[in-house]
Subunit: 348 residues, 2 copies
């Protein structure tokens, strides 16, 4: 592959991204850093087409990049833009600080991405996979009705109403609370396996059968905690984008099929996936630019942008990168802003 051909490929992608129209040899020849005639470019473009990097919508039209062309461009050819310092400051302000709740942090990142890129932004919350259960309370609220409250070291709170077969006595409730306290305090959310649960159900059943719904309730709550939630913001941008099929976009907005797994399976660093490359996430001409953020060095969630394939990668990728890095560092616990581990707990 010729040096000049690569330069021309890059120019075609840049032009196509800029104008949205198939790019002709003439418009390339007019560019500053290109000093060959349109005829030469025509020859090179024909070669690039042969190699599968470009294609023609129809015979007498200009060329458009193929998947392969975009891929090469993204991986090798483009020169990412730098983000101006003042923009960085603006973003930092939008995001929040160490005191901002994690939930809000990723939401703010989504908003920022939507505003900057004019595309849809997608974020997943930070799954408190490695956080531990710091408190479990069971609160009676009516005849045979109890509310279970589960609090984790990372500050997540979940509740659930639970109906038992009989009312519990004071002692029974005490027994249960102590039992749970003993067995679950300090257990990480991810460790709460079914097996562990089954053992606990068996253990409490030995004491009193009707306690087992409570254990199951706790189990369900911890599943809720493990649940990764996906939020798409600015999805309207996709609809007003005419290279995307409206029908597919609407279906996507409604069902968000497969996006979760796609984000989950990404490697580290900013990833670009095209809509048609993988059958799971299927908006035809779309592109997903995403990255995983970390919390205390461990992968916690993802954030990214969904737009048309014809999107300004050299501008967007640095933003996704910056936000990922920023979120990661904001989530790193200065051990100050999380609800403390159980040994620090005040009992009322």
């Amino acid at each position: 592959m010729d040096e000049r051909k690569l330069k021309i490929l890059a120019a075609v992608v840049d032009e196509y991204v800029r104008t949205g129209e198939p790019v002709g040899s003439k418009s390339i020849s007019k560019l500053e850093n290109i000093n060959v005639s349109s005829a030469t470019i025509r020859n090179d473009m024909a070669a690039l087409e042969q190699l599968g990097y470009l294609e023609q919508p129809h015979t007498s039209a200009g060329r458009v990049p193929t998947f392969k062309g975009y891929r090469l461009y993204i991986d090798e050819l483009m020169t990412p833009h730098d983000i101006p310092e003042e923009e960085k400051k603006l973003i930092d302000e939008m995001l929040g600080d160490k005191d901002t709740p994690e939930e809000l942090l990723v939401q703010n990142a989504a908003t920022a991405l939507t505003e900057i890129t004019h595309c849809a932004a997608v974020v997943t919350n930070a799954v408190p996979r490695f956080s531990v259960i710091s408190k479990v309370e069971v609160i009676p609220t009516g005849k045979r009705l109890y509310v279970i409250l589960l609090i984790t070291s990372s500050g997540n709170i979940k509740n659930k109403a639970c109906r038992l077969e009989f009312d519990l006595s004071h002692e029974q409730l005490d027994f249960f609370t102590h039992y749970i306290e003993e067995n679950l305090s300090g257990v990480s959310v991810d460790e709460l396996s079914e097996e562990m649960m089954d053992n606990m159900v068996a253990a409490v059943s030995a004491y009193m059968v009707s306690l087992s719904p409570l254990v199951k309730g706790i189990c369900e709550l911890s599943e809720d905690l493990r649940q990764q939630e996906l939020t798409v913001s600015g999805s309207e941008k996709l609809l007003s984008c005419d290279e995307l099929d409206k029908m597919e976009v609407v279906k996507f907005i409604e069902y968000k099929d497969g996006l979760s797994e796609l984000l989950e399976n990404a490697f580290s660093g900013v990833q670009v996936k095209f809509g048609a490359e993988n059958d799971s996430f299927a908006i035809g001409n779309s592109s997903l630019i995403a990255s995983k953020y970390r919390k205390d060095g461990k992968e916690a969630g993802s954030l990214g942008v969904i737009g048309p394939m014809r999107v300004d990668y050299k501008k967007i990728i640095p933003y996704v990168e910056y936000l990922t890095q920023r979120i990661s560092s904001l989530m790193d616990s200065g051990d100050d802003d999380i609800i403390n581990a159980p040994d620090n707990l005040q009992e009322p």
Copy 2:
């Protein structure tokens, strides 16, 4: 207004709903229960046009019903279809039973409506407006961190973490809990006015300033409870409907402007509103067929269908009616499935 003219108007609407094409005099004359010639029908149709019930897209086309025409048809002319028993059973199964959480109940109703009508369905959740606060707990979970738990008589549970300036002593917490218990138990969610809150903030501040964030927290939780949420399902059906303007549909999906109020302001019974009649909800040729469901006899939320104006009213209206009635009866508490009011409460 002639008996025959009404019959012809009904026939035109039925035909138009069936075919989607402007209806000519000839096709009407061929119908079973019409025994006059096309010329006669032409005369009557001209009269109906004069009266504003029909209109012509252009001179040499058939006729199409106007708003006024649809209105008359819906209010007076159409004979609603009966829903077959087996269909009712199917719907009942889709919805769930008395144990199904309310949230899920309305979601299921939306899914059912989308499947049956092939239109978008819209539902609002049941706002526990008249339910009363049955329990407030404040649970310490870390240094200066507290979780507020709010439970209502209808079984809604909300929680919220809250950071105070200082840690509370045992007594302070007791004082607060008692104070809240005294002032809020039995107060309906809707009554929790700002004024009331301000008074409470003032009262607890007199005892200890740093308690006021807790009061504010409770206030926010009750606001959460009052929040009516609107869910539109199957909105892709609107896009594949070619009599609706894609752009308007997209805007609607995005903002759902005014729909909330529109649903809120409906009278009892199934209501039909046309898109262009009210400026708030503005998909041009659309029609909203909605109804309010009740819980324990009080209006709780709405459900309905959004489709093109050319929709099979005589089929859809009975379904909306049936679902409303069914949801209402499923939500009626046999006094068995809700968390009981405060006087029945067991204190731990």
